[in-house]
């Protein structure tokens, strides 16, 4: 939408306040928020998997996502592959990146103090963000997809087909991850290492490999999320930090290390932000998620779905 312009979906300028909002607008923002929430869920699931398994916070999470977006953009512009297909390749590439980063760097600081882990991941984030800046320049990009313009009206609200497809694919990926963790040997070993590292070592688990695969899967989740959202959300190298922070918020709200928490937290935060954009103003929508975060940290630091406290 052009700045100051009123697209067909915005019936009431947000600044005119709540009194003139009609039910359809609220329903519309609920729906848009829910559909966009699939992406948030996928980002948060990736972060919480990494944290849950090796207690390391991936400060480069958003920057990995930006690389997923740029890879989708490269695939779309150079090879003509639609991001809704290309996301598989993006996820695979990010898996490799995550695997390597864990093997070469993170594996050495798993037992180090927090500040050293944070410093390392900030270094990785700086390298990823700025190598994207060197490679692609600072200007925002967006991937064109034929799905982007399609909408379906459902009574008073419309469904953005791109968002719907994104939502469905994100759900399927989360489900696949869940099945991997519960039904495969490697997935079970991963959960064992997360629950009881010593015990996992006793039974002969190759913890180094498990960690690297977990980091790879976490990166693949966010790479897929980036590719899926690339036709909807304009992206630029500097956007990684905001995406990282958004993922942190969701994961804390849902409960660190909890996969269902990350999943439901993603939907919750997205809907809350979407409503916040309507009731406050679009630039204040982040305030909603930060306020939610502060409230959760104060009264239930383990998160909505987390187990024990810190």
């Amino acid at each position: 939408m052009a700045p100051g312009g009123r697209g067909p979906e915005v019936r009431v300028p947000a600044s005119q306040g709540v009194s003139r909002l009609d039910a359809a607008l609220i329903a519309q923002s609920l729906l848009s928020g829910l559909l966009f929430g699939g992406v948030y869920s996928l980002m948060a699931v990736g972060l919480t998997l990494i944290f849950g398994v090796m207690r390391v916070v991936n400060f480069a999470h958003g920057d990995m996502m930006v690389w997923g977006m740029y890879l989708a953009w490269l695939l779309a512009t150079r090879a003509g592959i639609d991001p809704y297909v290309g996301f598989v390749l993006c996820a695979a590439a990010l898996f490799g990146l995550g695997y390597l980063i864990q093997r070469a760097l993170v594996g050495r600081v798993v037992d180090a103090p927090h500040e050293m882990q944070i410093l390392l991941m900030l270094g990785v984030a700086l390298v990823l963000e700025n190598s994207a800046l060197v490679a692609f320049g600072p200007d925002p990009q967006r991937v064109r997809s034929p799905l982007r313009a399609a909408t379906v009206w459902l009574g008073p609200v419309f469904v953005d087909v791109a968002r719907l497809v994104t939502f469905v694919l994100a759900m399927l990926l989360t489900l696949a991850l869940y099945l991997f963790l519960t039904r495969t040997d490697l997935g079970r070993t991963m959960r064992a290492a997360a629950d009881n590292l010593y015990g996992a070592r006793v039974i002969g688990a190759d913890v180094g490999r498990v960690y690297a695969v977990a980091f790879g899967i976490g990166a693949a989740c966010v790479g897929a999320a980036g590719a899926l959202v690339s036709p909807i959300l304009p992206f630029q190298p500097a956007g990684g930090l905001g995406l990282s922070v958004a993922s942190f918020n969701i994961v804390i709200i849902g409960g660190m290390g909890s996969l269902p928490g990350a999943f439901l937290g993603g939907l919750l935060v997205s809907v809350a932000e979407s409503l916040g954009a309507v009731f406050l103003s679009p630039s204040m929508k982040e305030l909603v998620s930060f306020s939610l975060l502060i409230v959760i940290l104060l009264f239930r630091p383990a998160g909505l779905f987390g187990r024990a406290a810190t």
Binding site: R108, E115, V127, E129, N249, I252, L287, I294, L297, P301
Partner: protein
């Protein structure tokens, strides 16, 4: 060691006579970031409570003194104390909420980030302080208004700030308070079991740290003459504050200074070097690689490594 410090001080005091204006600017940033890092060091380094939202204190101090100067005519020399007190107020709130509820490690990191981000968004949406356009200070060159024609004045003020913060940290380290903070960092439960009121000392560390950082906000405002919410409250500034003491050696008196003397010129040199080739961003890639190298090769920071290399001089 004392002799070495004295010689270094004399050199730094005399240096502006030989430096050109660009080199002075580089030194101003070294001193100012060392000052901010030193303030962070109290709560982050000694007490081990990793605040990643110290930009909020810089921002509040900066906006407070700038707005008071423009609207109420209050000289920033006093405004800097008001800014410090307001920042300490926010520090008290964040510390109270975080420590009361026992938030540790990454949870405390995120609480501080969230508060800083809330400040940023509020500043972006408050038209009275310029909103997203930012807040601009008209240059008068009047020293009473904390404005100077000569860059060297800022050099000496930044040097003074760094020395004052270092003196505060050295005093804390020598006192029982410092020992408590280190004990809290190393093993909070054991410390509590010995009867130390850990909540009280963590709060005190937070208040001193946020006050000093808020005072620094005035320098930020009246050195740069423009305040942008995204820069002065942003996470990148918080990160800049945090990384120098960690690289230099968190929880040591000289760590933040050493870290700033290592990182600030490197950041500047690589910015200039890569900027010439039109490779925007390449210098930050190098910067990121440097941080990674520090973690892998100097996991305690540069100062402890230096001490091991040179034990006699550090023996004091």
């Amino acid at each position: 060691m004392r002799w070495l410090a004295l010689v270094a001080l004399v050199v730094l005091l005399a240096l502006p006579a030989w430096l050109n204006s660009y080199a002075i600017t580089v030194f101003i940033f070294i001193f100012f970031y060392a000052f901010l890092g030193q303030a962070w060091n109290i709560v982050g380094g000694y007490a081990g409570q990793l605040s990643a939202g110290h930009a909020a204190f810089v921002g509040i101090g900066a906006y407070a003194s700038a707005v008071l100067s423009a609207q109420a005519g209050l000289t920033p020399w006093l405004g800097m104390l008001v800014g410090g007190v307001l920042s300490a107020g926010l520090g008290t709130l964040v510390g109270y909420l975080g420590f009361r509820f026992g938030l540790r490690g990454f949870y405390f990191v995120l609480l501080t980030v969230a508060f800083a981000e809330v400040c940023r968004i509020v500043a972006l949406n408050t038209d009275a302080v310029g909103g997203a356009l930012g807040y601009y200070i008209t240059f008068t060159g009047n020293p009473r208004q904390f404005q100077f024609q000569d860059n060297r004045a800022y050099y000496y003020i930044a040097l003074g700030l760094m020395l004052v913060a270092t003196a505060v940290v050295a005093a804390i380290e020598r006192r029982r308070f410092g020992a408590y903070l280190i004990a809290i960092r190393e093993d909070e439960q054991a410390c509590e079991a010995l009867g130390v009121n850990t909540f009280r000392y963590k709060m005190l560390a937070m208040v001193v740290s946020s006050f000093l950082t808020g005072v620094g906000g005035t320098f930020y405002a009246f050195y740069l003459f423009s305040l942008q919410p995204n820069s002065v409250f942003g996470i990148p500034l918080s990160v800049e504050i945090v990384i120098r003491p960690i690289v230099g050696g968190a929880g040591t008196v000289l760590g933040p200074i050493l870290g700033s003397f290592i990182l600030s010129p490197l950041a500047e040199a690589s910015r200039v070097y890569f900027g010439q080739g039109g490779w925007a961003g390449a210098h930050l890639v190098a910067y990121g690689l440097l941080l990674i190298a520090v973690v892998l090769f100097l996991p305690q920071g540069a100062y402890p490594a230096l001490r091991r290399l040179w034990p006699r001089a550090a023996a004091r």
